[in-house]
């Protein structure tokens, strides 16, 4: 085999209280798409960050083309030819799309930044990804998916030897993912080495040649994709034997909803956001909101949580018409909402895991009371245990958790309020395979055992088909179909989206 493009040997990285990487080896060849796999908190992102100089390593060596490198900042790594899209999109929301793409390496004319050229080249780059947007608008005008595409466009444009993509597809739909894959393959042909991190197994098997597995910061092994069947991969990731893994994947039976309706909307509309949604969610029902990006799923959820005003039609809870004018009003009706954008509207980064977990409950109790410390500890520990949140300490800052574990803390926050209606907007985004099934199971079990109503929004059709007793299909900010029983299938949803009104 040809000499390796990148060789990382005996890499160690310690954070206060956790050994994030210990003695990890990683080898990447030119023209190879190499996946890094592992559970949440296994150390994938940390390995990437050590490689690109975000964190200093505590031990080990990195060789690029046989020469030892010591990047101390991402910029230095980039100069060595390593281009990266980090897991947490790190763009500037108040700069324009074009500025974001070219920041730090603007094309110049006579010493001045050539804005025309910046805009022209941005448009061209995005076109390659089939993204057609106004590049002179600030980034915060666009949804997470577009922002992710912009981050990718920026990384792809740099003339690099290695491209690192840390969960680039977590907010992309299938079409967008396909486009990304096309470009990645093209770069592969040009001899670039690509590191691809994702929790979507299908994508790994579709795209990658090689898999390196980490568990708890240690190297499990490196395998050719063709020689590693799916179940074996999962078994190696979670460190269990094959049979246990098979059981794990079995889904609980779907919940049978009761006749009582918890919440219903009647031709509800919200100016500019939702046109017409009528739905009924029963007690003990898991309902799925399906549709393409921008079809109004999140907006519908936000409307039921008092974040969007109902400007037409009506909204009833327990048969009584209600005006939910803010989240607290919804919370008083025992509604909970895990938002889709974890970083922006979920975590409070500089607070501890414990504080993040009790925050919603505390808000419900009111500003002038105080949940006793012992109760806070009890609650935090209960959910850290129940959701198997990987923390070194309950008083660790949440921003230092791995992406998937942050997500679990947000779910814990809402479970702690003991809601009657739980809205989960992309709850499994960035969550590892094992935990994904657990969260799906949890949703079904909460409905079955506690009679909770659950609304599930997910870009993974598969996930909704497995968990939901009813699917509401949306298109163009309207409800276009409702599927129950045997109608619930990916094809059914696709048909409804394509076919329009039934």
């Amino acid at each position: 085999m040809a000499a390796a493009l990148l060789e990382m040997r005996h890499i160690d990285k310690v954070f206060p209280g956790v050994k994030a990487l210990s003695n990890v080896d990683f080898t990447l060849h030119a023209g190879e798409i190499h996946s890094l796999m592992g559970e949440n908190g296994a150390g994938k992102s940390t390995l990437v960050k050590v490689l690109t100089g975000v964190y200093p390593k505590d031990g080990g060596t990195i060789h690029l083309n046989g020469k030892e490198i010591y990047p101390k900042t991402p910029k230095e790594a980039q100069e060595e030819g390593i281009s990266t899209v980090y897991q947490e999109v790190n763009l500037c929301p108040n700069l324009t799309v074009a500025e974001n793409i070219f920041i730090g390496r603007e094309p110049r004319r006579f010493g001045f930044i050539d804005w025309k050229e910046v805009n022209r080249r941005s448009i061209e780059l995005l076109k390659k990804l089939d993204v057609d947007i106004d590049v002179s608008k600030t980034l915060d005008n666009y949804p997470v998916a577009i922002q992710q595409m912009v981050a990718i466009a920026r990384a792809v444009d740099v003339d690099a030897k290695i491209l690192i993509l840390d969960e680039p597809t977590s907010s992309l739909n299938e079409v967008e993912t396909e486009r990304l894959f096309r470009i990645v393959r093209q770069l592969q042909k040009q001899g670039m080495g690509i590191i691809f991190i994702s929790h979507f197994l299908e994508q790994i098997y579709e795209l990658c040649d090689h898999i390196t597995i980490l568990r708890n910061g240690e190297l499990v092994g490196s395998y050719e994709v063709a020689k590693l069947p799916r179940l074996e991969l999962i078994a190696k990731m979670v460190g269990k034997n094959l049979n246990d893994v098979k059981d794990m994947d079995k889904m609980a039976e779907k919940s049978v909803p009761s006749d009582e309706v918890f919440i219903e909307t009647n031709h509800a509309a919200s100016t500019g956001q939702i046109k017409d949604v009528s739905l009924q969610i029963h007690k003990g029902e898991v309902i799925g909101l399906a549709g393409l990006l921008g079809s109004g799923r999140t907006e519908t959820a936000e409307m039921m949580f008092g974040l969007k005003e109902v400007t037409g039609g009506s909204l009833k809870i327990n048969g009584k018409e209600e005006k939910l004018s803010n989240p607290m009003a919804a919370m008083k009706e025992k509604i909970a909402f895990c938002p889709e954008d974890r970083k922006l509207s979920g975590i409070i980064g500089d607070l501890t895991v414990r504080e993040n977990i009790i925050l919603a409950l505390q808000a419900m109790d009111g500003m002038f009371t105080h949940i006793p410390y012992s109760k806070q500890v009890e609650l935090a520990d209960k959910f850290i245990d129940k959701l198997r949140i990987k923390v070194s300490d309950r008083d660790q800052l949440i921003k230092n958790l791995s992406g998937g574990n942050q997500q679990k803390v947000i779910i814990a926050r809402w479970l702690a309020t003991q809601p009657r209606f739980l809205i989960l907007d992309e709850p499994t985004r960035g969550i590892d395979v094992g935990t994904k099934t657990e969260i799906q199971k949890m949703a079904v079990e909460l409905a079955k055992n506690e009679g909770m109503s659950v609304a599930f929004i997910s870009s993974e059709m598969d996930e909704m088909v497995r968990t939901c007793s009813k699917l509401v299909v949306m298109r163009d900010r309207k409800k276009v179909a409702e599927l129950t029983g045997d109608q619930i299938s990916s094809e059914g949803v696709m048909e409804a989206i394509a076919g329009g009104e039934k």
Binding site: N326, S345, G346, L351, M367
Partner: protein, 353 residues
Amino acid sequence: MDKLKSFTSSSLFLPIVALAVLLIFNGIFVEGFFDIQITEDGRLFGRVIDILTRSSSLVILSLGMTLVIATSGIDISVGAVVAISAAVVCTLIGGRGDGAAETPMALAMLASVGIGILCGIWNGILVAKFKIQAVVATLILMTAGRGIAQLLTEGQIVTVYYKPFASIAGVIPGMPLPTNVFIALAMVLLVVFVMKKTSIGLFIQSVGINPTAAKYVGINVTLVLFLVYAFSGFCAGVTGLIESSLIKAADANNAGLNMEMDAILAVALGGTLLSGGKFYLGGSVIGAVTIQTLTTTLYALGVSADQLPVVKAIAVIAICLIQSKKARDLFDKWKSGRSAKAVTADAKAVNKA
């Protein structure tokens, strides 16, 4: 060793060191700096006591400022609000030469604190409700405030001859310390108590760190912002009482002049980041005392009032540099560099053996 380490990394480390350095400097160069005398009726005298007494206004202001800054806001109107509050209490009691009060003193005091709160509410409405940037919103009162105070005093310096008025910033017979020290102490205790017994502190931090997420967990962001500005106004109102009692007069031009800057400096020195989030009340209090000590020291060294701001500016730069990320990274690097050297030395020793 471990204890030392946890102390050097604690948030109070920097403010305490700064204060200690100043005190030691004073101890060496100012004769009898630490001497405290007790008079027959139990009063305490001395330079340290003096500094403590003079700090009380700044301590009070920095309490409100800490909470405002924690929400990632700022209140630059407090100095002007001090002037308004001073004007209100003095004009209400009145400058009658026969030493009588036109309005009962308690009522006048209530009114002036009330005015402070009103000013805070005004700031709160602008920031919380109309989402005007805090600097701009409070700039309005900062510039207009002194004008309002002038209107109230009709352009005069109102001198109060009513005797009891002096006791707010003076000693009530039988007490060991001037009243304002007790007022400041009471305010500190009040705030600490409220922070301990309620979750306001947690909410303030949440709003300062991530207002969107705070909204999504049901925190009433508008109310939290409103409350901290109102409280800051309250603090300024109380300070106005003390400052006017100190000189027994309301001077619309000079009461509370530049105090907002000192308060912000005290908060920054105390370790609270101006970007909001985590806040340290203890640090702010120590910061306030430090600044007062600095001022007193400089006066003692013969620095004139005009030059004082220059020296203070140097202090601000030093503090900001020490707190900056770059400096911390350098410090970390230096530390890890040393430990790395230690490791290689160890390795060499092992190899030899």
